[in-house]
């Protein structure tokens, strides 16, 4: 019995390009860096000639739509000064959305289909929420918020911090991995029609999950920076 037949390709972590000791460069890392280059390079190209006048290029309009929608969404959740949080929260959304949309490129595997990427994103949210909370309300006030509504809730608040992070990582990973896996299984069964439908569904769920990730990060930060009038 050949054991290798049973180990299925779950994500891009299996394909390793270069290894030195425990440092590895696998397909997930390469794809992530490629996405970062695409986003940063594209934005740099677009913002080279910004013009405040009436006639703007369509790429600038697209970026303006993105930024203004993100500001509006952040404000509607309840964060008073949306520009402060815009860069972090909109980056989360744009990165995950780009990782999803690029699945129409053949031979591409979304880096968010690997638990390492989604865990990294979730840990960044886990670190960012106290950072923003302390920057907004001060250290003492933030620590006191763990004792609300009563001090009995302290262990539950701490546990909920960790479980929220885990839920964020597993939610995104499960959605992306399941889409890719169903697509791979269907490709072995039906030739053309159903895989196309499933990849359209995968695009839709991926965009919804990117939006959810951003909105959940916004809600957590809003809960941490809530100042109390007492």
């Amino acid at each position: 019995m050949d054991v290798r037949r049973w180990i299925v390709h779950l994500s891009g972590d299996d394909i390793i390009f270069w290894q030195y000791g425990f440092l590895k460069i696998n397909q997930t890392i390469l794809t992530t860096w490629g996405l970062m280059l695409l986003l940063a390079g594209g934005s740099a190209l677009v913002t080279r000639k910004l013009s405040p006048g009436i006639h703007v290029s369509r790429w600038q309009s697209a970026l303006e739509i993105l930024v203004s929608m993100a500001l509006k969404q952040i404000e509607e959740v309840g964060l008073g000064n949306p520009k402060k949080y815009l860069s972090y929260l909109a980056t989360l959304f744009v990165f995950i959305a780009t990782a999803v949309v690029c699945t129409i490129i053949p031979g591409y595997e979304p880096p968010t289909g690997s638990l390492s990427t989604t865990a990294a994103l979730a840990i960044s949210v886990f670190v960012a929420v106290p950072l923003f909370g302390i920057a907004e309300t001060g250290l003492g006030e933030y620590l006191k918020s763990y004792l609300r509504p009563t001090f009995v809730m302290l262990p539950f608040n701490i546990i909920s911090e960790f479980s929220r992070t885990l839920a964020l990582a597993v939610r995104l990973f499960g959605n992306m991995m399941s889409g890719a896996m169903i697509l791979a299984i269907l490709l072995g069964i039906a030739p053309f029609f159903f895989p196309v439908l499933m990849s359209v569904l995968g695009l839709l769920t991926g965009m919804v999950q990117a939006y959810i990730f951003g909105m959940l990060a916004t809600v957590y930060i809003a809960a941490a920076t809530r100042t109390r009038e007492e």
Partner: protein, 93 residues
């Protein structure tokens, strides 16, 4: 009945039952969420954007429970730690 058969049967049966039973609850919950969202949309169409946004966030939270069950099924079928160990043991014999 050696150990390979027991591990294989337990993994497959548990994987199937996990997805089957685990998706009942979220499906019912999502149905109730959408129906109450439709009711409040009919009553107050002006706040449609808020209701829709809250609906999507709530649906994603409910859906994540089904995703947890799916991830466990996938782990049991494709990345089963006990299966690899049992195979290695059988291969070493």
């Amino acid at each position: 009945m050696d150990i390979i058969i027991i591990v294989a049967v337990a993994s497959i049966v548990t994987a199937g039952l996990t997805t089957a039973i685990g998706c009942i609850g979220p499906a019912l919950g999502e149905g109730r969420a959408v129906s109450s969202a439709l009711t409040s949309l009919a009553q107050q169409p002006d706040s449609a954007s808020t209701i829709t946004r809250t609906l999507f966030i709530g649906l994603a939270m409910i859906e994540s429970v089904a995703i947890y069950c799916f991830v466990i099924s996938m782990i049991l079928i494709f990345a089963n730690p006990f299966w690899n160990q049992v195979i290695a043991q059988a291969g070493g014999k």
